[in-house]
């Protein structure tokens, strides 16, 4: 249908379009404003007489138009008279699917309800401030909050519009203190860390049979401490998936020789690195750390990827710097060189710090899905198992395809299940979509 400028009211027969709200292809609800018209008398918004999709626009901002002038054409999507617009059918199916996934994923990964005594640990009020807008508080309140180190985003304002006043700040500070005290007084609940554990007691295992005892190396002790710390602090969830890497393996086979000549092993890790960096750019929450002191999440704008390396003495995770700025060849050479030096225990402490995400590829050894421990202070780690040829249904037929087990462990404090599901799904797509031109030297 064609939409024309309706009668504006007494004495007004034309006006200037001050704002045009719609563009081609927009889906409009009935009464959704199409444009805003400024006349001698008033500023008025002109609503859509019907629901539909905009197929043509005849005007632009700044145009002076008269009553009866053609504004837009609408392809009506349904009964314009119907007072109820059903968003489910009006929305494009792609969106529909994603919304569905998200809900499902969110239910899947939702943590079990916290037991009674732990509940007061949360000092956060449920606060919803619109994104991109600072919390509503006067400059003097903001100054006091900054001096006290309180993040106003976490403070609920009691005044109209959610405005935060001194009383709110005081209530929040008191609440924090209560929470801190009850946490200290409470039983060693979950999340208390190593400090709260009872002193370790030695057990004589030789009572039950012969044993041999070996010393824990410094590295073993470091791994032990690090893993316990992560385990205790991070509410970890692991997401599972599989990627069809049949084509990727063919590409690898074809180009491995050329990479080898230039000093790089073209391995699954190389491909995974490339894909992971792209994912981290798309989902910055996975390239982040929690700053608990400041109550903030730090999003890093660099991409230093930890590579889990199996050495004779145990696990070491050196960091490949600026993976986003490296070509496939540079990644292949870089990982190769880093892994070699790591096995020789020649990496410096510096080279093991500053990582933003870790990849643990066990494929070379074997095994399927596993649940890696998040390498804190990072918030996520990718685990790769061994690719196995499996019967897969493709285009209605059962075909042999090489399937790669993929797992993503993440810190649920920062990342939600839905995001992880998206991350993994997109990652699988990337791994399945590598092209000749991505790999060829």
């Amino acid at each position: 249908m064609d939409v024309r400028l309706p009668r504006l009211g007494e004495g007004a027969d034309s006006g200037v379009i001050s704002t045009l709200f719609v563009k081609l292809g927009d889906t409009l609800k009935k009464d959704q404003p199409i444009l805003e018209l400024e006349s001698e008398k008033a500023v008025a918004s002109i609503p859509s007489p019907s629901a539909g999709t905009v197929t043509k626009i005849f005007v632009k901002e700044g145009d002076e138009i008269k009553v009866g002038a053609l504004i837009v054409s609408l392809a009506e999507s349904g009964n314009g008279e119907s007072p109820v617009v059903q968003p489910a059918s009006a929305a494009p199916p792609v969106i529909d699917a994603r919304v569905g996934d998200e809900e499902e994923a969110a239910i899947d990964v939702a943590p079990p309800p916290a037991p009674g005594p732990v509940a007061p640990l949360s000092a956060d009020f449920p606060v919803a401030h619109p994104a991109g807008v600072p919390p509503p508080a006067s400059p003097s309140i903001r100054k006091i909050a900054r001096e006290l180190g309180l993040d106003l985003h976490r403070v609920r304002g009691s005044e109209h519009g959610g405005r935060i006043v001194m009383a709110d700040l005081r209530a929040y500070a008191q609440k924090i203190q209560e929470v801190a005290l009850s946490a200290r007084a409470g039983a060693p609940a979950a999340g208390q860390g190593l400090a709260a554990r009872p002193a370790p007691v030695s057990v004589d295992f030789s009572k039950w049979g012969p044993v041999s005892v070996k010393k824990m190396s410094q590295l073993r002790k470091a791994i032990s401490a690090k893993m316990s710390e992560s385990w205790a602090a991070v509410p970890r969830v692991t997401q599972f998936d599989e990627a069809d890497i049949t084509d990727l393996m063919a590409l690898r086979k074809k180009h491995a020789g050329a990479y080898e000549q230039k000093g790089g092993h073209l391995t699954l890790t190389t491909f995974a690195l490339k894909a992971v960096v792209a994912m981290l750019k798309k989902y910055p929450d996975f390239n982040a750390s929690i700053d608990e002191g400041a109550g903030t999440v730090v999003l890093k704008q660099y991409y230093h990827i930890g590579i889990a390396v199996d050495t004779e003495q145990g696990l070491i995770v050196p960091v490949l710097r600026d993976a986003d700025k490296k070509s496939m060849l540079e990644l292949a050479v870089g990982v190769n060189e880093l892994a070699e030096r790591t096995r020789e225990r020649k990496v410096s402490l510096d080279e093991m710090q500053g990582g933003t995400f870790t990849i643990s590829n066990q494929g070379g050894i074997g095994g399927g899905h596993f649940t890696p421990v998040v390498n804190t202070p990072e918030v996520a780690i990718l685990g790769i198992g061994r690719g196995v040829v499996k019967p897969v249904v493709k285009d209605g037929k059962i075909v042999p395809r090489t399937m790669l087990p993929i797992t993503l462990s993440y810190d649920h404090r920062v990342v939600d299940g839905a995001s992880a599901a998206r991350f993994v799904t997109d990652l699988v797509k990337l791994l399945e979509g590598f092209k000749e031109s991505d790999v060829a030297l």
Binding site: T19, A42, V43, V133, P134, S138, P139, E159, I164
Partner: protein
């Protein structure tokens, strides 16, 4: 050797620098203020805000006299004496500059007149009339400002090609004048010259003038300027200038079409550049960004732990009141307070006719950032005060968060908009809602009522305009 020891040295006595120096002195610090010019006040006072406003006031008198015929008041054509006008303008600057010097004296802020140069991170060498002086300090605040940009292609060494600095000296009223750049400086000075009698053409590379302002707010300014100026040409690039006798030949390009014209004078107002040259920054740890601005964090600290930078030279919006705020933050940071330039509203005012002012979130920004907002407008045709002086070409606009009804942005176009926007700043900084604004009684008859009526219009209950009532939430 002439050596002075001080807690804080401030380099540059513009609205950022002197405000910082005075505030530091008020907080009990020993302060040295270094300024290369004899008259304090920086660009703002000497070659910017203040002189341009004086000239715009003169222009307003001429316009109002001209436009008063239909009110039954007839003036003869005014006789303009540029020498007297310049003396009057300069007398204002003298008064202000003298005032600042006096305030410095009373606070025991030592003013050194001369160029400053960093010998290292803690020593500033100052070239004064009485020879070199060395200032050794704990903290320095760099506030050296910016200068009008003159692209090399236009820089012919011809005094008829002016920046704002020369244009403010009004040497003559050229018959024809080209203004390159339709930003606020070009539009303001174009207004002065056009009112004094020049035929002014404004060219702008962008597809509309006054970039940064919402289009609906800029429109009334453009409409009136189109009458005052000979022409406003958007999407136009000036490619070349050359001297032809006493005129300037200008080549430009619009939509692929080439044009060659001659003008008596040209005003180049295409932006400003930081004054970072020859400061000895290389002897400190101060870093600059790719455009030459000094890099600072939100506490105004540079990469050198002894040096802060504020105002134009630190980038961001180049406005005097932003420099002043940054100066105060720098001093608070130096004196150990936890201040930061965070979520601070910096209003913008363009002193064209009508004036244009905004603060907080603009409608365009909200759209760009994807912040859901509701926009309410109140046309000045419904303001009795605007009618009383025949200037209904105005509009007041509120950008409101529909969920909390909080005011996120205010935009005003119309006579005296610059004087009205302060209320918008307070409203946003205080986290006020539309209801707060609507329920605060505004005096009648004033233009400030347009703010409260605009807030009422959000609820569909503005007295002097009629709009459909908001349907209750949840329907």
């Amino acid at each position: 050797m002439n050596s002075i020891k001080t807690d804080i040295v401030v380099l540059g006595a513009g609205p950022g620098g002197y405000a910082a120096a005075f505030y530091a002195a008020d907080k009990g610090k020993k302060v040295v203020l270094v300024e290369q010019e004899k008259r304090l006040g920086g660009v703002c006072l000497n070659r910017g805000c203040i002189p341009s406003k004086a000239l715009l006031h003169a222009a307003k008198l001429i316009t109002e006299a001209e436009e008063s015929g239909f009110r039954g008041i007839h003036f003869p054509k005014p006789r303009i004496d540029l020498n007297e006008m310049r003396l009057w303008k300069n007398s204002i600057l003298e008064k202000l500059g003298g005032g600042i010097a006096d305030l410095a004296r009373r606070r025991n802020v030592e003013v050194l007149t001369g160029r400053g140069y960093f010998e290292n991170s803690t020593t500033l060498r100052v070239e004064t009339e009485d020879g070199q002086k060395y200032v050794s300090y704990d903290k320095a605040i760099i506030a050296v400002g910016s200068k009008a940009a003159m692209p090399a292609a236009f820089d012919l060494g011809n005094p008829r090609i002016m920046t704002s600095t020369e244009a403010l000296e009004i040497e003559e009223i050229p018959k024809t004048m080209l203004v390159v750049g339709g930003g606020y400086i070009g539009m303001e000075l174009g207004t002065v010259y056009a009112t004094l009698g020049s035929e002014v053409v404004v060219v702008e590379a962008f597809d509309h003038i006054l970039a940064g302002a919402d289009l609906d707010l800029a429109r009334p300014v453009a409409r009136r300027a189109e009458k005052l100026f000979k022409e406003i040409r958007v999407s136009t690039k000036v490619t070349k200038m050359a001297t032809v006798g006493k005129r300037i030949k200008v080549n430009m390009e619009l939509n692929g079409e080439k044009k060659e014209e001659q003008y008596d004078r040209v005003l180049v107002s295409v932006g400003r550049l930081p004054n970072c040259g020859d400061l000895g920054l290389e002897n400190t740890k101060v870093q600059q960004d790719e455009k030459g601005y000094i890099k600072v964090n939100d506490r105004q600290q540079t990469d050198d732990p002894s040096i802060c930078a504020i105002g134009d030279v630190a980038g961001g919006v180049l406005l005097a009141h932003k420099a002043t705020k940054e100066g105060r933050i720098a001093v608070e940071v130096i004196t150990g307070e936890l201040s930061a330039f965070e979520d601070i509203i910096i209003p913008a005012v363009v002193f064209t006719d009508p004036e244009l002012a905004w603060c907080g979130l603009t409608e365009a920004e909200a759209r760009q950032k994807g912040v859901a907002v509701e926009v309410v407008k109140f046309p000045w045709s419904a303001s009795g005060r605007a009618l009383s002086f025949d200037r209904t070409d105005g509009m007041t606009k509120l950008i409101i968060d529909p969920g909390t009804e909080r005011i996120l942005g205010v935009g005003i176009v119309g006579a005296g908009a610059g004087e009205l926007i302060g209320e918008g700043v307070v409203a946003i900084e205080m986290g006020a809602t539309a209801q707060d604004l609507a329920e605060s009684v505004h005096p009648h008859p004033t233009l400030s009522e347009t703010l409260s009526e605009c807030a009422e219009a959000f609820y569909g209950t503005a007295t002097h305009s009629f709009s459909k009532k908001k349907s209750p939430a949840g329907e």
